[in-house]
Amino acid sequence: MSDNKTAGKAQEFKALSSKDKMRKVSDLLLNNAMYIIIVLAVIYISIEEPAFRKLPSIINVISLTAAKLPIALGIAGCIVLTGTDISAGRVVGLTACISASLLTTVFKVFPEMTSAPPILVVFLMVLAVGAVVGFVNGFSVAKFKLHPFIVTLSTQLIVYGLILIYLKNGTNNGQTLSGLSDGYRALVTGTLFTIQGVAVPRYVLYAVILTVIMWIIWNKTTFGKNMFAVGSNEEAANVSGVNVSRTIIMVFMLAGVMYAITGFLDGARIASANANTGLNYECDAIAACVIGGVSFVGGIGRISGIVVGVLLLQIIFAGLNFLSVDANMLYVIKGLIILIACAIDMRKYLVRK
């Protein structure tokens, strides 16, 4: 079936005049410029540093991808609604700090506590925190028609302030939280299985589960269909009977819950949490979404694209880290990647018939 398709396409291509052929090829090159550059860079890195191709490094990239996937899956919904969410990183930080302060052996934030509460209780608590921030974002966007940039900028600052106040609590005095309980660490970073002696952490499995859940929400539920409808044309969606406000609020709340999960996993993954945990995570997540084809024009995006976007970003940055490229340069590179991804995003939309 697919062979027939490609054969048909090849024949179609042959039938084109040479000028059209040129255009087809240049279209292909331009629309995939980013992928081409990243793939070439990764090939160069793996030739230069053969250790980058080895199993431990591959598992490392997969683990990093799994760690950054939930936040990207959350933020993608906001982008589909032609919005964005720049409070994401700080919500990750707050939820990581809450998890790390409760599921610990040294109760510096709450000195009167003697034993850690059940992990499930803390997990549900941070989910609620994420959902509340998401609700504030979504409510302001839906009811007051505020631009998500402004709303999430303010919640970003408010949440950052809350993190700092929270860390000042008890005897902690703004210090980094560490000494996490073994149960919490084992649940997140425990070994899922080992390949040739290299351990794959459990949070890889959680990321896979979350991806499947998000795929179902996006593709198989009314809520998902409503989200795309609102994203591509709010008025049309409204006319056809979609509850626009509720959809927007739910998308932001779902995003908040995904950030909370990221924070919960990140606390144990990094084995500590402080005011800088989650800093700039939203930039990486937004970049990954745009690279993965979640378009800023709204109403366009696929879960598979997000996974590819996160993976590509992690591969290239893990590779550059392997080459000992200074972090300062990485910021410049990251910024350029976002710009190119946006230009390609616009181009794809303009040339699509």
Binding site: G231, V325, I333, K353
Partner: protein, 115 residues
Amino acid sequence: MSETERPLRGLYGRVNISVKALNGIIIGLSVLLIACLAFGMANRGYDVTFNTMGGTAVESQKRMYGEVLEPPAEPTREGYAFDGWYADEGLTIPWDLETDTVSQSMTLYAGWKAP
């Protein structure tokens, strides 16, 4: 502009740009990105600097990913005894010169104790 072009919407709602201009931008930025990648790869190595917290200065080092540090000259400070290097300013994470490997540019802080 060809007829197939349609107005952008969403976050690009106010962008008015032709495909031709976008092609130029994509090519230009790609070249810039490749240049940055090449520059970064040509200037490899992480700078490790030493903050002696009031002691005698210690020379910084350039190290590759995964390498251990060359044992730096031990700093001295009047009235204190040197207590090793730490990865954080709060002196809570000690740096083991023999086993800890470099994975980013960083500063190590000297710990001091009263003799």
